[in-house]
């Protein structure tokens, strides 16, 4: 009985130590955190310039534009997940630790979401306003981002773990990860569109929640296997 309690406490220890380490390191290079957000804003700005500044049209494409941009911004931020840990050798220490790799990975993905998905969610109302999205639509956008971006972090982490040992990873990573992002994109932008049309979005949110649950359960297994493969070279 006591042994079990001990193990649990230690797991918590590594989980928190991991988050603390990644947060501290990230906040000492704040530009890495802000760049994906700037990217998000710039990409969204391009659409009115490329298509039309007309409010009716922008309102109609807003859910898709905002979600695709958020997705691309997340994709760009995947670099910070495992790449630097691989280069400085701390990733192999993580694998060689007696602590369960599962806890470390969960902590890393959670930190990634805190530093990328959550800021994107908080920034989104501003951009929604620039694209003339209605209040209902904005609310739905924030809810879907809140549920959807963690899934993007989990799936992205699988791709990132698979490519971490390779030299030119950027393009390959997007090729691996983007097709897997499709269901999230469909359900999330569908929810925002439904909200604009005044339809209920509980069903959409439930589907996104189911995807999140699935990702929490399955992705860490895939990520830890992928990390072991990438480091075995």
């Amino acid at each position: 009985m006591t042994a079990q309690v001990d193990v649990k406490q230690v797991n918590q220890g590594i989980f928190i130590a991991m988050i603390r380490r990644d947060m501290t390191a990230a906040f000492r290079h704040p530009s890495d955190l802000i760049n994906p957000l700037i990217f998000f804003v710039v990409v969204v700005t391009l659409f009115p310039l490329a298509v039309t500044p007309e409010s009716d049209f922008l309102r109609e494409i807003a859910p898709g534009v905002l979600w695709v941009s958020a997705l691309l911004a997340t994709l760009l931020s995947l670099d910070m997940l495992f790449q630097s840990d691989f280069q400085d050798g701390t990733l192999e220490q993580m694998i060689l630790s007696p602590q369960p790799l599962y806890a470390s990975i969960l902590a890393k993905v959670f930190t990634h979401w805190l530093l990328s998905g959550l800021p994107l969610t908080l920034l989104s109302p501003l951009l929604a306003m620039m694209l003339f999205l209605s209040a209902d639509g904005t609310q739905a956008l924030m809810l879907t981002l809140l549920l959807g971006t963690p899934v993007l972090s989990f799936i992205g982490a699988i791709g990132s773990a698979l490519t971490v040992g390779l030299r030119k990873t950027g393009l390959l990573l997007s090729l691996l990860v983007l097709p897997l992002y499709i269901p999230v994109l469909i359900f999330a932008s569908g929810a925002v569109q439904a909200a604009i049309a005044g339809l209920p979005i509980v069903g959409h949110l439930a589907l996104l929640g189911a995807l999140l649950a699935l990702a929490v359960v399955l992705a860490p297994v895939a990520i830890s296997t992928a990390l072991r493969i990438s480091l075995s070279g």
Binding site: L175, L178, I229, S230, S232
Partner: protein, 245 residues
Amino acid sequence: MWRWFHKLGSPKWFYAISGRWLPWVAVASILLLVVGTVWALLFAPADYQQGNSYRIIYIHVPAAFLAQSVYVMMAVAGAIGLIWKMKLADVMAKCCAPIGASFTFLALVTGAVWGKPTWGAWWVWDARLTSMLVLLFLYLGVVALQSAFTDRNQAARASALLSLVGLVNIPIIKYSVEWWNTLHQPASLTLTEKPAMPADMWVPLLIMVAGFYCFFTVVLLMRARVELLDRERRTGWVKDIIKAK
């Protein structure tokens, strides 16, 4: 059972037995494909709605079948390689990827060709076609990852894992795409859901499907044999073969 499994995993045994099977499967695939094609193009009746343009299903449907089942096969072979470290499974998974991608591409092209007379456009965002396109992306990802590693063992294990992740995702992607499709356009005429196809139409289709499977087996075995020889070139049995030639 276990012994059989191990025997199957032995490259030497596989090379010998596949060499014996290969000609027979090749003959079967040629026979099936010729009979199926002739029947489909000359003897099967024209469709009352679409006329003769429907005949492309005799390539489109088998290709789409193969595209999906090859992916499953690749993922299963990959899982076997990943878990039991069976070299032969790695080889199979690696050889499946480009073949499956080709079938997917063929299904897409024939779907587009069929779409022109039916919908009046080369491409429509039909649920099946869109899922097929995403499947092609998944295949291309596996192939790209496979070729990105210099170490063979790593390449095999990484792409096996990716194809397993893809396998879990395929039903979700399919479901989401269908859901998206019904939301945006009403269900239109689809190629494969035909009420009560007459036997004259579906029997040649069945023959074509069987022919495609045999053809796939032939290509897979040929690729796997070459890959095996390359991997095992330092072992005794490969040196024996080279000496014998």
